[in-house]
Symmetry: C2
Protein backbone atom coordinates (compact mmCIF):
# COMPACT_ATOMS: atom_id res chain seq x y z
CA UNK A 1 0.00 0.00 0.00
CA UNK A 2 2.81 2.37 0.91
CA UNK A 3 4.59 1.81 -2.39
CA UNK A 4 1.32 2.28 -4.26
CA UNK A 5 0.73 5.54 -2.41
CA UNK A 6 4.19 6.78 -3.31
CA UNK A 7 3.64 5.92 -6.96
CA UNK A 8 0.33 7.76 -6.87
CA UNK A 9 2.06 10.81 -5.40
CA UNK A 10 4.78 10.71 -8.04
CA UNK A 11 2.33 10.28 -10.92
CA UNK A 12 0.12 13.06 -9.61
CA UNK A 13 3.08 15.38 -9.14
CA UNK A 14 4.22 14.78 -12.70
CA UNK A 15 0.78 15.17 -14.16
CA UNK A 16 -0.06 18.21 -12.06
CA UNK A 17 -3.44 16.74 -11.24
CA UNK A 18 -5.95 18.40 -8.99
CA UNK A 19 -5.51 17.43 -5.38
CA UNK A 20 -7.35 14.45 -3.98
CA UNK A 21 -6.91 12.38 -0.88
CA UNK A 22 -4.90 9.26 -0.16
CA UNK A 23 -6.90 6.72 1.81
CA UNK A 24 -4.50 5.99 4.67
CA UNK A 25 -5.58 2.42 5.30
CA UNK A 26 -8.23 1.44 2.80
CA UNK A 27 -11.05 3.03 4.79
CA UNK A 28 -14.36 3.47 3.04
CA UNK A 29 -14.38 7.17 3.82
CA UNK A 30 -17.50 6.64 5.91
CA UNK A 31 -15.73 7.05 9.22
CA UNK A 32 -17.15 9.86 11.27
CA UNK A 33 -13.84 11.41 12.37
CA UNK A 34 -14.44 15.15 12.77
CA UNK A 35 -10.87 15.83 11.66
CA UNK A 36 -8.60 15.03 8.74
CA UNK A 37 -7.19 11.48 8.77
CA UNK A 38 -5.70 11.35 5.27
CA UNK A 39 -2.77 13.35 3.94
CA UNK A 40 -3.84 15.48 0.97
CA UNK A 41 -2.06 14.41 -2.20
CA UNK A 42 0.72 16.52 -3.69
CA UNK A 43 0.85 19.18 -0.99
CA UNK A 44 4.65 19.61 -1.26
CA UNK A 45 4.15 21.04 -4.77
CA UNK A 46 1.65 23.70 -3.67
CA UNK A 47 2.33 27.41 -3.84
CA UNK A 48 3.61 29.47 -0.95
CA UNK A 49 1.20 31.29 1.36
CA UNK A 50 3.70 32.46 3.97
CA UNK A 51 6.33 31.45 6.50
CA UNK A 52 6.47 31.64 10.29
CA UNK A 53 8.60 31.03 13.32
CA UNK A 54 7.02 29.86 16.54
CA UNK A 55 9.39 30.50 19.44
CA UNK A 56 9.30 29.15 23.00
CA UNK A 57 8.37 25.52 23.65
CA UNK A 58 7.25 24.96 20.08
CA UNK A 59 10.55 26.27 18.62
CA UNK A 60 9.63 25.60 15.02
CA UNK A 61 10.05 27.23 11.66
CA UNK A 62 7.49 26.54 9.02
CA UNK A 63 6.16 27.12 5.56
CA UNK A 64 2.48 27.46 4.80
CA UNK A 65 1.39 26.28 1.35
CA UNK A 66 -2.01 26.32 -0.32
CA UNK A 67 -3.67 24.28 -3.04
CA UNK A 68 -4.90 26.20 -6.09
CA UNK A 69 -8.34 26.83 -4.59
CA UNK A 70 -6.84 28.26 -1.40
CA UNK A 71 -4.21 30.35 -3.22
CA UNK A 72 -6.86 31.86 -5.49
CA UNK A 73 -8.98 32.74 -2.46
CA UNK A 74 -6.00 34.28 -0.67
CA UNK A 75 -5.00 36.36 -3.70
CA UNK A 76 -8.54 37.53 -4.38
CA UNK A 77 -9.22 38.05 -0.67
CA UNK A 78 -12.24 35.73 -0.84
CA UNK A 79 -13.72 35.03 2.58
CA UNK A 80 -14.92 32.60 3.68
CA UNK A 81 -12.54 30.25 1.85
CA UNK A 82 -14.52 28.14 -0.64
CA UNK A 83 -15.01 24.40 -0.28
CA UNK A 84 -12.00 22.58 -1.67
CA UNK A 85 -9.50 24.98 -0.13
CA UNK A 86 -6.65 23.18 1.60
CA UNK A 87 -3.89 24.91 3.54
CA UNK A 88 -0.80 22.99 4.65
CA UNK A 89 1.63 24.01 7.39
CA UNK A 90 4.98 22.21 7.12
CA UNK A 91 6.80 22.43 10.42
CA UNK A 92 10.47 21.81 11.13
CA UNK A 93 12.63 22.16 14.19
CA UNK A 94 14.24 25.62 14.32
CA UNK A 95 18.00 25.26 14.29
CA UNK A 96 21.00 27.54 13.74
CA UNK A 97 22.82 26.95 10.48
CA UNK A 98 26.41 26.32 11.55
CA UNK A 99 27.34 26.22 7.89
CA UNK A 100 25.91 29.64 7.10
CA UNK A 101 27.08 31.23 10.34
CA UNK A 102 30.66 30.13 9.65
CA UNK A 103 30.54 31.92 6.31
CA UNK A 104 28.75 35.01 7.62
CA UNK A 105 31.13 35.19 10.58
CA UNK A 106 28.32 35.54 13.11
CA UNK A 107 25.37 33.61 14.59
CA UNK A 108 22.55 35.00 12.51
CA UNK A 109 21.08 32.24 10.37
CA UNK A 110 18.27 29.93 11.48
CA UNK A 111 16.94 27.23 9.18
CA UNK A 112 14.73 24.12 9.19
CA UNK A 113 16.14 21.09 10.98
CA UNK A 114 14.20 17.80 11.01
CA UNK A 115 10.55 17.86 9.97
CA UNK A 116 8.32 17.68 13.03
CA UNK A 117 4.77 17.58 11.74
CA UNK A 118 2.48 18.73 8.94
CA UNK A 119 -0.88 20.26 9.65
CA UNK A 120 -3.76 20.80 7.26
CA UNK A 121 -6.90 22.86 7.10
CA UNK A 122 -9.40 21.30 4.71
CA UNK A 123 -12.52 23.31 3.82
CA UNK A 124 -15.67 21.24 3.43
CA UNK A 125 -18.60 23.16 4.80
CA UNK A 126 -20.85 20.09 4.98
CA UNK A 127 -18.46 17.43 6.24
CA UNK A 128 -16.92 19.72 8.82
CA UNK A 129 -19.97 21.86 9.62
CA UNK A 130 -19.46 21.32 13.36
CA UNK A 131 -15.99 22.93 13.25
CA UNK A 132 -16.64 26.03 11.20
CA UNK A 133 -16.42 24.23 7.85
CA UNK A 134 -12.77 23.34 8.40
CA UNK A 135 -11.35 19.89 8.95
CA UNK A 136 -8.17 20.00 11.01
CA UNK A 137 -5.34 17.57 10.39
CA UNK A 138 -2.10 16.86 12.23
CA UNK A 139 0.38 14.31 10.89
CA UNK A 140 3.56 13.33 12.65
CA UNK A 141 6.70 12.71 10.65
CA UNK A 142 6.05 8.93 10.77
CA UNK A 143 2.71 9.49 9.03
CA UNK A 144 0.52 8.83 12.09
CA UNK A 145 -2.13 11.42 12.83
CA UNK A 146 -3.39 13.11 15.95
CA UNK A 147 -6.26 11.28 17.67
CA UNK A 148 -9.58 12.77 18.75
CA UNK A 149 -8.27 14.03 22.10
CA UNK A 150 -5.22 15.62 20.46
CA UNK A 151 -7.34 17.35 17.81
CA UNK A 152 -9.99 18.67 20.17
CA UNK A 153 -8.32 22.04 20.93
CA UNK A 154 -7.81 22.92 17.22
CA UNK A 155 -11.26 24.29 16.54
CA UNK A 156 -11.77 26.45 19.66
CA UNK A 157 -8.34 28.02 19.12
CA UNK A 158 -8.85 28.67 15.39
CA UNK A 159 -12.39 29.90 16.08
CA UNK A 160 -10.84 33.00 17.65
CA UNK A 161 -9.54 34.04 14.22
CA UNK A 162 -13.08 34.64 13.05
CA UNK A 163 -12.21 37.71 10.94
CA UNK A 164 -10.07 35.54 8.64
CA UNK A 165 -12.41 32.52 8.47
CA UNK A 166 -10.52 30.76 11.30
CA UNK A 167 -7.22 30.89 9.42
CA UNK A 168 -4.20 32.33 11.24
CA UNK A 169 -1.83 32.67 8.30
CA UNK A 170 -2.02 35.72 6.07
CA UNK A 171 -0.71 35.74 2.50
CA UNK A 172 2.83 37.10 2.11
CA UNK A 173 3.10 39.10 -1.14
Amino acid sequence: MKRFTLVLVAVAALAGVVVSMIPASGQSGKEAAPFVTQIPLGYRDWKLVSVAHEAGNINSIGAVLGNDVAIKAYREKTLPFPDGSIIAALHYSYVPSEENNKIFGRAQSFVPGSPTNIQFLVKDSKKYAATGGWGFGHFNKDGTHGNAAFMKPCFPCHAQAKDSDLVFTHYAP
Copy 2:
Protein backbone atom coordinates in the same frame (compact mmCIF):
# COMPACT_ATOMS: atom_id res chain seq x y z
CA MET B 1 5.95 49.64 -19.21
CA LYS B 2 5.17 48.82 -15.62
CA ARG B 3 1.55 48.04 -16.42
CA PHE B 4 2.62 45.91 -19.38
CA THR B 5 5.00 43.99 -17.14
CA LEU B 6 2.23 43.33 -14.62
CA VAL B 7 -0.08 42.09 -17.36
CA LEU B 8 2.67 39.80 -18.61
CA VAL B 9 3.14 38.41 -15.12
CA ALA B 10 -0.57 37.83 -14.70
CA VAL B 11 -0.96 36.14 -18.08
CA ALA B 12 2.06 33.94 -17.48
CA ALA B 13 0.82 32.99 -14.04
CA LEU B 14 -2.55 31.97 -15.44
CA ALA B 15 -1.07 30.05 -18.32
CA GLY B 16 1.58 28.38 -16.19
CA VAL B 17 4.19 29.12 -18.82
CA VAL B 18 7.82 28.24 -18.49
CA VAL B 19 9.85 31.00 -16.88
CA SER B 20 11.43 33.67 -19.01
CA MET B 21 12.73 37.10 -18.27
CA ILE B 22 11.06 40.49 -18.31
CA PRO B 23 13.20 43.12 -20.01
CA ALA B 24 13.21 45.85 -17.37
CA SER B 25 13.47 48.78 -19.72
CA GLY B 26 13.51 47.55 -23.28
CA GLN B 27 17.20 46.69 -23.22
CA SER B 28 18.51 44.55 -26.02
CA GLY B 29 19.90 42.01 -23.59
CA LYS B 30 23.38 42.79 -24.84
CA GLU B 31 24.39 44.71 -21.74
CA ALA B 32 27.41 43.25 -20.04
CA ALA B 33 26.12 43.44 -16.44
CA PRO B 34 27.67 40.54 -14.55
CA PHE B 35 24.55 40.24 -12.42
CA VAL B 36 20.81 39.85 -12.87
CA THR B 37 18.98 43.03 -13.85
CA GLN B 38 15.59 41.58 -14.78
CA ILE B 39 13.08 39.95 -12.44
CA PRO B 40 12.39 36.36 -13.53
CA LEU B 41 8.79 35.92 -14.59
CA GLY B 42 6.30 34.08 -12.41
CA TYR B 43 8.60 33.44 -9.45
CA ARG B 44 5.81 33.84 -6.87
CA ASP B 45 4.21 30.66 -8.23
CA TRP B 46 7.34 28.53 -7.86
CA LYS B 47 7.61 25.60 -5.48
CA LEU B 48 9.09 25.82 -2.02
CA VAL B 49 12.76 25.04 -1.42
CA SER B 50 12.96 26.11 2.22
CA VAL B 51 12.51 28.93 4.72
CA ALA B 52 14.95 30.87 6.88
CA HIS B 53 15.27 33.52 9.55
CA GLU B 54 18.26 35.84 9.53
CA ALA B 55 18.62 37.46 12.93
CA GLY B 56 20.70 40.46 14.00
CA ASN B 57 20.96 43.51 11.75
CA ILE B 58 19.26 41.75 8.85
CA ASN B 59 16.26 40.70 10.98
CA SER B 60 14.39 39.06 8.14
CA ILE B 61 12.24 36.01 7.56
CA GLY B 62 12.18 34.53 4.13
CA ALA B 63 11.00 31.87 1.77
CA VAL B 64 13.21 30.32 -0.87
CA LEU B 65 11.44 29.13 -4.02
CA GLY B 66 12.78 27.40 -7.11
CA ASN B 67 11.69 27.15 -10.71
CA ASP B 68 11.01 23.66 -12.07
CA VAL B 69 14.62 23.15 -13.22
CA ALA B 70 15.98 24.08 -9.80
CA ILE B 71 13.39 22.03 -7.87
CA LYS B 72 14.15 18.96 -9.98
CA ALA B 73 17.87 19.41 -9.32
CA TYR B 74 17.27 19.84 -5.59
CA ARG B 75 15.04 16.76 -5.36
CA GLU B 76 17.41 14.60 -7.42
CA LYS B 77 20.48 16.04 -5.65
CA THR B 78 21.97 17.10 -8.99
CA LEU B 79 25.12 19.19 -8.55
CA PRO B 80 26.12 21.46 -10.10
CA PHE B 81 22.66 22.90 -10.77
CA PRO B 82 21.94 22.78 -14.52
CA ASP B 83 21.66 25.86 -16.68
CA GLY B 84 18.16 27.30 -16.42
CA SER B 85 17.94 26.79 -12.66
CA ILE B 86 16.63 29.85 -10.86
CA ILE B 87 16.34 30.17 -7.10
CA ALA B 88 14.40 33.05 -5.54
CA ALA B 89 14.70 34.30 -1.96
CA LEU B 90 11.71 36.39 -0.87
CA HIS B 91 12.63 38.45 2.16
CA TYR B 92 10.33 40.19 4.61
CA SER B 93 10.89 42.09 7.81
CA TYR B 94 10.64 39.76 10.82
CA VAL B 95 7.84 40.91 13.09
CA PRO B 96 5.88 39.48 16.02
CA SER B 97 2.28 38.62 15.21
CA GLU B 98 0.26 40.55 17.79
CA GLU B 99 -2.84 38.85 16.44
CA ASN B 100 -1.52 35.32 16.95
CA ASN B 101 0.15 36.08 20.25
CA LYS B 102 -3.10 37.43 21.67
CA ILE B 103 -4.80 34.14 20.83
CA PHE B 104 -1.93 31.95 22.03
CA GLY B 105 -1.65 33.99 25.22
CA ARG B 106 2.12 34.42 24.87
CA ALA B 107 4.73 36.09 22.65
CA GLN B 108 5.71 33.17 20.46
CA SER B 109 4.70 33.88 16.88
CA PHE B 110 6.90 35.69 14.35
CA VAL B 111 5.70 36.29 10.81
CA PRO B 112 6.55 38.29 7.67
CA GLY B 113 6.02 42.04 7.87
CA SER B 114 6.64 44.23 4.83
CA PRO B 115 8.57 42.76 1.90
CA THR B 116 12.15 44.06 1.94
CA ASN B 117 13.81 42.58 -1.12
CA ILE B 118 13.88 39.60 -3.46
CA GLN B 119 17.12 37.96 -4.46
CA PHE B 120 17.73 35.54 -7.32
CA LEU B 121 20.36 33.05 -8.34
CA VAL B 122 20.20 32.41 -12.09
CA LYS B 123 22.31 29.57 -13.48
CA ASP B 124 23.82 30.28 -16.90
CA SER B 125 27.28 28.78 -17.09
CA LYS B 126 28.27 30.81 -20.14
CA LYS B 127 26.76 34.21 -19.36
CA TYR B 128 27.90 34.13 -15.74
CA ALA B 129 31.11 32.12 -16.17
CA ALA B 130 33.08 34.71 -14.19
CA THR B 131 30.90 34.17 -11.10
CA GLY B 132 30.76 30.40 -10.89
CA GLY B 133 27.98 30.11 -13.47
CA TRP B 134 25.52 31.97 -11.27
CA GLY B 135 24.05 35.39 -11.93
CA PHE B 136 23.17 37.17 -8.70
CA GLY B 137 20.17 39.47 -8.49
CA HIS B 138 18.89 41.80 -5.79
CA PHE B 139 15.63 43.71 -6.25
CA ASN B 140 14.29 46.22 -3.76
CA LYS B 141 10.59 46.39 -3.07
CA ASP B 142 10.25 49.34 -5.47
CA GLY B 143 11.62 47.14 -8.28
CA THR B 144 15.03 48.82 -8.49
CA HIS B 145 18.02 46.52 -8.45
CA GLY B 146 21.40 46.55 -6.75
CA ASN B 147 24.13 48.27 -8.75
CA ALA B 148 27.57 46.87 -9.55
CA ALA B 149 29.13 48.00 -6.27
CA PHE B 150 26.26 46.55 -4.25
CA MET B 151 26.43 43.22 -6.09
CA LYS B 152 30.19 42.79 -5.87
CA PRO B 153 30.28 40.89 -2.53
CA CYS B 154 27.69 38.30 -3.65
CA PHE B 155 30.03 35.99 -5.53
CA PRO B 156 32.94 35.83 -3.07
CA CYS B 157 30.51 35.09 -0.24
CA HIS B 158 28.58 32.42 -2.16
CA ALA B 159 31.85 30.97 -3.47
CA GLN B 160 32.49 29.69 0.07
CA ALA B 161 29.56 27.30 -0.30
CA LYS B 162 31.45 25.33 -2.92
CA ASP B 163 30.16 21.92 -1.77
CA SER B 164 26.63 22.92 -2.73
CA ASP B 165 27.46 24.71 -6.00
CA LEU B 166 27.55 28.12 -4.25
CA VAL B 167 23.98 27.77 -2.98
CA PHE B 168 23.37 28.31 0.74
CA THR B 169 19.83 27.01 0.94
CA HIS B 170 19.19 23.29 1.32
CA TYR B 171 15.92 21.64 0.34
CA ALA B 172 13.45 21.17 3.21
CA PRO B 173 11.58 17.85 2.80
